[in-house]
Symmetry: none
Subunit: 225 residues, 2 copies
């Protein structure tokens, strides 16, 4: 059984590596999101242990990216938080299970085996908000029965908004999720893309899915406007 461990806490990663090898698994380790993503792409694993908070690209995006690329290797997400939201979030991204830090090692092994046994997910998740639908794996979007063609940036921005539907997300959050954690350009780019999305999703249908909350950010209405 081949396992990839992605965690930036070296000591934890190291002890996981040793522990899992003691369980008879073949373990690869990556210490940040970029490496993790790269290794997951290049190799075939039976499961991936993925920390949510990572330097470079966070676990959330690593998982989402893999899924969007059609890679359905089982993912066990590690998270330092235990809020209900994070659970939903993790699963919505395409993680198959999650574990809250701190966790006991035997539990991790059990969950990991279960997730790997269950095999890769059969069905990709489709995000919905009213009559707005978005399929991350197929990279397709619909408003009702009409398919909407979006560019790459537009798509990942809408995906992010839909994962947070109903909640206000700040411009900063959007930048970190859709662009990069250390994006240093003009934040106005977010406004520009909101505009693009509105032109494609709202204007032709006389709807208002994306609301702007002045001084706070944007909110995708959970009923699609």
């Amino acid at each position: 059984m081949r396992v990839l461990v992605v965690d930036d806490e070296r000591r934890l990663a190291r002890s996981l590596e040793l522990g899992l090898e003691a369980e008879g698994m073949a373990v690869d380790v990556a210490h940040d999101g970029t490496d993790g993503l790269w290794m997951a792409r290049e190799n075939t694993y039976d499961a991936i242990v993925l920390d949510l908070m990572l330097p470079g690209i966070n676990g959330y995006r690593v998982c989402a990216t893999l899924r969007e690329e059609g890679n359905w290797t089982p993912v066990l997400m590690l998270t330092a938080k235990d809020g209900e939201w994070d659970q939903v979030e993790g699963l919505d991204t395409g993680a198959d299970d999650y574990l809250t830090k701190p966790f006991s090692f035997p539990v991790l092994v059990a969950r990991l085996r279960a997730v790997a046994r269950r095999g890769a997910r059969e069905r990709p998740t489709v995000l919905e908000a009213g009559d707005l639908r978005l399929d991350p794996a197929a990279r397709r979007t619909w408003r009702g029965d009409d398919e909407i063609t979006l560019t790459s940036r537009e798509f990942s921005m809408l995906a992010f908004l839909m994962r947070h539907k109903g909640d206000v997300v700040s411009k900063r959050q959007v930048l970190e999720a859709v662009w990069d954690d250390d994006f240093e350009g003009d934040p106005n780019i977010v406004e520009v893309y909101v505009r693009h999305l509105r032109n494609k999703l709202d204007r032709p249908y006389d709807r208002a899915a994306i609301q702007t909350i002045r001084g706070a950010g944007y909110r995708l209405s959970s009923d699609g406007g």
Copy 2:
């Protein structure tokens, strides 16, 4: 175990850093609220030691901001005062524990470990006071079934009042929490915003959620008026 220490007293911060590292922890240090907030956002810690009184942004707002952004890293608040208000205030903000200066180092370590072990807090539900409801994540407010649209300032002021429902809060406290702890403008701004809130929340419903306690401050009635 990764810990972030935010304290502007360099000597104390330094000795905490050394002491905690001697306990086997990985310690990062920030000397003001702005840096602290930034580091808490950028990294993942098992716990944060946060001084209440800070230059830049005070500890109260650092914690509140993190929570509003969905960051539930355990926070141990340090305060130089030992007044009842500060305890309530600290915990209401989303701090998990507090410690009054001066404190003994072993006690700090013990509390810190306890707070980290207990893990991050659960995400709070919406704030309620009678038929007044406020959802920090969605940035929405209702009186009964009617949704009330508030501006950014109005919203954060009402959020503050609701976190302290039933308690009298002074104008000074409001200024420090909603504006800045070094706000130097006309304190009358608080009265102006109380007025705005009353116009939106009370007047149309013939209610009186926000009471003024002459010479002391304001109180949000815990039953919404």
